[in-house]
């Protein structure tokens, strides 16, 4: 049960979908895997919906994890508050869901906007977590990210959800993923377009209008943290992940080779494997963050490689790191 007495938790079963209730709003969620097992909670990106984690659900439950997915307020089958959706409410929704998982170890991971919500949760309730995996995430709005966000919001307003998807697909996915789908992109976009409403996405974007950087609070995250960043992430580049690595004490930064912002869609098998390995290392007390920088393997099960000593991982060309 949720610890916050102000928040009423009740369950409803509508068309076999379970819902949590946060005030008057319903939050659709799904739990899979064995009761009492270490759990992974996966938080969607801005334009996503929980079915996009299906490959993770299968892979992680196959390795004995419990997996919790949900639609954020304003997304998919969860309620879509009409005018205001605060990030605090998203953290409260996440708290409700994690409250359903019992006392076993909980690992929390989120992509992009979901990564931000996961960071906020870890800052406020880190003691509940065994591990944290922010993916394509950020703790502050750099000028580039703020301007890109504004432009994406304008695109949504002027062109609707479909146009926003048109902008995000080439920005966040590789040529090799897009090429075979070029003649079928409408089908790729359709489910996201069907389940997400433009005004609700706009509300999610406008939850950044009063955003304050999380950077000063990152040091309070004591939980083991693996930060995942695509090699070619254009939307949230390395520098934004570096802020997380430098400020979260027990963290490592893992660069996913040949990956873009939405690598969770493009490299699901690899990412699920990295999530499982991280949790297994933490549970076996093998994890040492050390603020290290690693390069992930190309394939699941491959070897993690330390970033070459002396070179600057913030550059795209091999430049020696300045002596500190």
């Amino acid at each position: 049960m949720a610890a916050d007495p102000k928040v009423e938790v009740r369950y409803r079963q509508v068309n076999r979908m379970p819902f949590l209730a946060h005030g008057s709003h319903r939050i659709r969620y799904e739990l899979d895997g064995p009761l009492g097992a270490p759990a992974y909670v996966l938080v969607n990106g801005l334009t996503q919906f929980s079915e996009l984690w299906t490959a993770y659900r299968d892979a992680l439950t196959g390795k004995g994890f419990r997996v919790a997915t949900f639609d954020l307020l304003g997304q998919g089958a969860s309620d879509k508050p009409e005018l205001f959706i605060s990030q605090d409410d998203q953290v409260k929704a996440l708290r409700l869901l994690i409250g359903e998982l019992g006392d076993g170890p909980v690992f929390l991971s989120g992509i992009s906007f979901g990564g931000l919500i996961a960071l906020r949760y870890a800052i406020e309730h880190g003691e509940k977590l065994a591990g944290l995996v922010p993916m394509s995430a950020f703790a502050e709005l750099s000028p580039q990210l703020m301007l890109l966000g504004n432009a994406l919001r304008t695109g949504l307003i002027l062109g609707g959800t479909g146009y926003l998807q048109d902008l995000l697909l080439p920005m966040n996915l590789s040529d090799s993923w897009l090429k075979p789908l070029l003649n079928n992109l409408d089908a790729v976009k359709r489910q996201g377009w069907l389940v997400n409403d433009a005004y609700a996405l706009q509300n999610l974007m406008e939850s950044f209008l009063d955003f304050q950087p999380l950077t000063p609070q990152l040091a309070s995250i004591k939980t083991p943290t693996m930060i995942l960043n695509g090699e070619f992430d254009f939307l949230t580049p390395r520098s934004l992940h570096e802020t997380l690595r430098v400020n979260i004490p027990d963290s490592s930064l893992v660069i996913i080779p040949n990956a873009y912002h939405a690598f969770t869609l493009e490299k699901a098998a690899l990412t699920a494997d990295l999530l499982a390995r991280f949790a297994e290392d933490v549970l076996a007390n093998r994890w040492r963050g050390n603020k290290a920088v690693w390069i992930a393997p190309e394939e699941p099960g491959g070897e993690m490689i330390p970033f070459p000593d002396g070179y600057d991982h913030l550059r795209a060309i091999p430049v020696k790191r300045a002596a500190s």
């Binding site: 509508v14 068309n15 008057s24 508050p81 009409e82 005018l83 205001f84 949504l156 307003i157 002027l158 062109g159 609707g160 959800t161 409408d186 089908a187 359709r190 377009w193 069907l194 409403d197 433009a198 005004y199 706009q202």
Partner: protein, 201 residues
Amino acid sequence: MSRFLGPLDSTGRVPPLQQTRIAAFLISAHGALARHLAMALPGQLSAGWQTELNAQFHREMEIVSLLMRATSWVPDFNLPYHALVWEAAWLPKPVAGVTDQRQAMTIDIAALGHAVHGAIRPAAVLPVEAQAQDPFVMALRRIEFESSRMIQPQILFLKSDDLKPMREAVSAAVENRHRQVGKLWAELLEGIGVGRDAETE
């Protein structure tokens, strides 16, 4: 019950009764918004923001005009009853919790506009096989496309600093209008064999 309109005919067109019922509903809703805007629109504009009123009025009228011409109408003897229910629903009601009655009425009209442009997604009930060049199909897609722009003045007004002191009343008004419009839209769709929670595409 299907999640989408149909069954389509051999050329990918939506059945005329479904067209008739949907067009009548949308004409009723957007026509009501057009009437509200016409009442609020002064003969001589005196402030910059009133230009948006003028634009909104004509966009609502464009939707009405488009549907009248793009729909394959058939007789529907249930329509008069439905139209009465719909028209009664669109009547403005001053929002509770706002003392200035003129402002309370304006908030309700904006809330109705937010709901009509936000809660009704006519293109989302079109199956992928629908004939893209059919006028009715194109009209539904156009209405949904325009809605994400047309909702903006309502959003700006309802989220404005002027209304911050009464945010709870405003949010409740918008929520109520969304619930009402969403329910009418869902009932309309169920009446023509379309269910939001049906699983078949």
